[in-house]
């Protein structure tokens, strides 16, 4: 089952690569640098997905005390931090030739950076509590606080800065040529599959670790 998922994920990634680097056309205003978007935007999406899963899993854990929910929250947070970091890095690399600077405090980069530090703190908390059960409980509480904080972060940063491009996929009616949207969607799918693949492997590792300690 996992090898099937792995295979499909790999296929998706290759497809995304082909679409992003090859088939998608050279963008008008930014040139080929715009292709980084096929990495950057799906990464952000996966990060938000991951943190939403952390929220749900955290609530389930507190209500039902299912160890599996705790492991899911842990794994999802870790993968989420991974993709958040990737979002920041790709955003920065995209920004250098586009805006002339490695870093800028625009809305998306700032928001994602705050999320990065928040959930890094989540992982730190887990790492620093030795009691497994208490660690799970506290992490769940933090997971809930962090998730509810996301909209607050989003809006506060947005009102504070308006340099970044407006979110492209959210606007009604396509503002980008169809082939670019298609390439983006393929990468979205590929990254989502990768998320599922990573989380499933990570939860398995966590379960094996728990068994080893028993």
């Amino acid at each position: 089952m996992r090898t099937l998922l792995g295979g499909v994920t790999l296929a998706g990634l290759v497809g995304g690569l082909v679409m992003g680097l090859g088939i998608a056309p050279r963008e008008m205003t930014q040139g080929n640098v715009q292709r980084i978007m096929y990495l950057h935007v799906p990464s952000v999406w996966v990060a938000y997905l991951a943190f939403a899963v952390v929220l749900v899993a955290s609530i389930v854990y507190l209500v039902r005390r299912a160890e599996a929910a705790d492991r899911l929250a842990h794994a999802s947070a870790e993968v989420g931090v991974l993709f958040t970091g990737l979002t920041i890095a790709t955003g920065s690399i995209w920004g250098k030739p586009t805006w002339g600077t490695w870093w800028t405090w625009d809305a998306r980069l700032t928001t994602v950076s705050i999320l990065f530090v928040m959930y890094l703190g989540y992982l730190l908390l887990r790492g620093m509590i030795d009691d497994r059960e208490r660690g799970a409980r506290f992490a769940a509480v933090l997971g809930i606080v962090a998730a509810f904080n996301i909209p607050l972060v989003h809006f506060s940063v947005l009102w504070w800065r308006t340099l970044h491009q407006p979110p492209s996929l959210m606007k009604p009616g396509p503002t980008m040529p169809g082939i670019i949207v298609a390439a983006l969607l393929v990468n979205f799918a590929a990254f989502t599959l990768l998320y599922v693949y990573f989380v499933s492997r990570r939860t398995r590792v966590l379960r094996l670790e728990a068994e080893a300690e028993a």
Partner: protein, 63 residues
């Protein structure tokens, strides 16, 4: 026509590939370690006749 900056594109894709591949390798290696360890534990238990502990899938003993 704006400059193409392919080096940045490759830097970004390359970085993503390295990061994701590294994480994947971490997962695969850790899983193998733990799988091997659990096989060894199972063999030891069979030799001494002790019962196997179950991973707690749901519910939780109160502390």
């Amino acid at each position: 026509m704006t400059a193409d900056n392919w080096s940045f594109v490759f830097a970004a894709y390359g970085l993503a590939a390295v990061v994701l591949a590294t994480y994947w390798r971490f997962l695969v290696r850790r899983e193998k370690e733990l799988d091997d360890a659990s096989v060894v534990r199972r063999q030891m238990r069979q030799e001494s006749g002790r019962p196997e502990p179950q991973a707690r899938a749901s519910g939780h003993p109160s502390s």
